[in-house]
Symmetry: C2
């Protein structure tokens, strides 16, 4: 008997998360004897809990194809709804909805929390006698899945595009900073990645020869506002200017109370971004130079601007989505599709699969060996690792009437079959 | 006798300021009997005062051609050095340096302050018996030159690219906000333009049909944090999400002390951006919705990212530079090259010239009649005005080894002929 598919997204988006979605949808079409309809969870697991399912099989093929270069998660939505172990009612509701809609395959696109949820759904389905194959599709711009030996996953889809955003941006900021340095000698930019420095590290890809006066401040760096100011002043003496890329997770010490209100849970009227704390510190006490520091906080732009998507990342995100469907059929439930790298000088990736539980319990930092001794830079090993991931050149973003043409899916929910349910965290 | 040229840039850069520089340089080549060398003031007027001049005639033609798509002012630099009337020593020094280097033509690329300086240099040269033709080239992303009848200048080179940045960005942010709205329903973005709302207004170009839940807060809007929060909550009830584009000049009232430290003169440890004040206000007291507001401050990125340059703006910036050279020869000293618009449905611009003094004393706001009655939007008249300026599609940015290939000029100063001079503001 044919089964239906549910695919859902989780957590912050990336410029290529829709490419993985497209990969799943199009690969399902290769199994017409096994698969009937492909449904999308509207805003991820929330849509499954609320029984808000979008019929993706009913969308025009051209719109599905446009998902390839449609950034972020506006097509079917994502959420930050976390499923803790004790939310047994929520878990049972997922099984109930899957059963009601004859779902035999569940593809979950997300990071380690999502793989944890996926593993638990897979296990519970077995216990409840529901034939459900659960398969993970990796996604995160932070590149913080897996291990520091890169054996679980070499890099996550999404990271290559965030890295390309920073690499290309640095080239433009270098022109800006060089041109304006007699009045604005310090450009401070805040990069995402609360715990892991892979994103700010990518700024260096713009300048492997170290010609730019660029300093990177990782969450892991151990630098302080005081040492940052010392480093910046030294750079100003040497170059007359300085570009500072600071992780949103950088420790601003005493000023921490006033730290980073952008995009996170705790706020107050005095909350401040790390970039602003750095700018304020430099401008009030730290800067021994004529002129001012300026601050830039791209925020969600680094995960949602399509033109900075990496062509390599787009391709791999699509293929890892396809591969997830194949391993669902080949290997059954409980796996995440993964991207690994062949040894050798020339970059070549390949796809494989790893148990969901292993990913769920993994967390990766920028390896300490890839941070330079002064903790202001990365090593060439990092550059060799990351350079191939950003690709070469611009992706081909479709245009219409002079504007970007993104996928437009028709969002009407399929008929509900179960009583109304209020997810635990909404109560 | 042949004369030399000095060209210099002033104030904040734009993605197309180098295109005007290229226009000046290449147009000078059409006057081989009148012009010997073209020098660039290194970091604008500072370079002239310090006698730091770059020989632009000695640069490879290919590099000059690459200026077309090289953003910001890294090629020959710019500055914010202001020349007030009483700085007579500085003015005399400019004449001295011009005379020493046999300069007969001075092209000054900048905004109204620069046109004021240019007018005064022109006048003083006459008084001192120096044959010097001074010609202005307009530049500013703010579009705040001229009058609200658009008779002095229709739009400034640079504005079309800043407008395109915001228009294209909104499309991406709309995908981001729609995808993440169940946990981050409000995206706040801060736009440049301290006094004039043309830049935030451009966000609406992405959505002339008003389908996005987009609210614009101009410096001129008269809204407060409280009314902003009311508007946002109303939008959330209606759409479940809201995109807020707020001018850096938006009045945040009581919280003003903690306002905008990015890129401007006065700082303290508690300085904050307008975007952050809005985010903090919404998240601490203002937001009657599940989820958080996130803040984005693109800062200098909106004036320095090449891929968002408007093709129309690039062409016009180049041509207005060329035109400046032509009017210098046709009309003598004391004019600024300007861009005007032919009447009619189809956009057509043409070039003309206006007296420097008229521009120097001009200042333009977003016309009140182009702000919608609720002061959260622009009218269709604004859209008809601004839409042609952003062009259609992507500019052709040269690539090399997968990265953007920007112009690389050889910066070595020509031989100095005058004693060392310390500009007044450096003393």
């Amino acid at each position: 008997m044919k089964k239906n598919v549910i695919v859902a997204q989780s957590g912050g988006p990336s410029p290529v998360i829709n490419a993985s979605l497209q990969g799943v949808i199009e690969a399902c079409a290769a199994y017409p004897d096994q698969i009937d309809r492909v449904y999308g969870g509207w805003h991820g697991i929330e849509g499954i809990l609320l029984e808000e399912l979008v019929d993706l099989s009913a969308q025009p093929k051209e719109e599905i194809a446009l998902l390839r270069t449609t950034p972020a998660a506006g097509a079917i939505g994502t959420c930050r709804y976390k499923l803790k172990d004790e939310q047994t009612e929520d878990y049972e509701r997922i099984i109930e909805v899957m059963r009601a809609h004859n779902v035999g395959y569940f593809f979950y696109i997300g990071g380690n929390d999502s793989m944890d949820t996926a593993a638990k759904v897979s296990k519970l389905a077995k216990e409840r006698g529901l034939e459900l194959i659960v398969t993970g599709v990796p996604k995160t711009i932070d590149n913080d899945l897996g291990d520091e030996e890169f054996t679980i996953i070499d890099h996550t889809p999404g990271y290559g595009s965030a890295a390309r955003y920073w690499a290309y941006l640095m080239q433009n900021v270098n022109e800006e900073n060089r041109g304006m340095c007699v009045s604005e000698p310090v450009s401070v930019l805040q990069a995402m990645g609360r715990k892991s420095g892979f994103i700010p590290a990518a700024a260096r890809l713009a300048d492997p020869q170290r010609e730019m006066p660029l300093q990177l401040y990782f969450a892991e760096s151990g630098h302080t506002l005081e040492s940052l100011a010392e480093n910046v002043n030294r750079q100003l003496q040497q170059s007359g200017r300085c570009i500072v890329v600071v992780s949103e997770g950088f420790d601003v010490g005493n000023l921490g109370e006033a730290r980073d209100g952008f995009g996170h849970i705790e706020y107050g009227a005095s909350q401040n971004t790390v970039a602003q704390v750095v700018v304020n510190y430099l401008n009030s006490v730290g800067l021994k130079a004529r002129g001012q520091a300026t601050g830039q906080v791209p925020g969600v732009l680094q995960r949602s601007v399509s033109i900075f998507a990496s062509c390599v990342d787009i391709d791999e995100a699509y293929q890892v989505g396809q591969h997830a469907v194949d391993i669902a059929f080949k290997h059954g439930t409980g796996w995440m599709a993964t991207i690994l790298r062949k040894p050798g000088e020339t970059y070549q990736s390949y796809f494989s699969h790893v148990p969901l539980e292993i990913v769920a319990n993994s967390a990766r930092h920028l390896p300490a060996s890839w941070i330079s001794p002064d903790r202001l830079d990365v090593t060439d090993d990092f550059i060799r690792y990351a350079r191939p991931l950003i690709g070469d050149g611009w992706p081909d973003i479709a245009l219409e009437n002079g504007f970007q043409r993104f996928a437009r899916l028709s969002v009407s929910f399929i008929e509900k079959k179960r009583p109304v349910y209020l997810p635990i965290r909404f109560r």
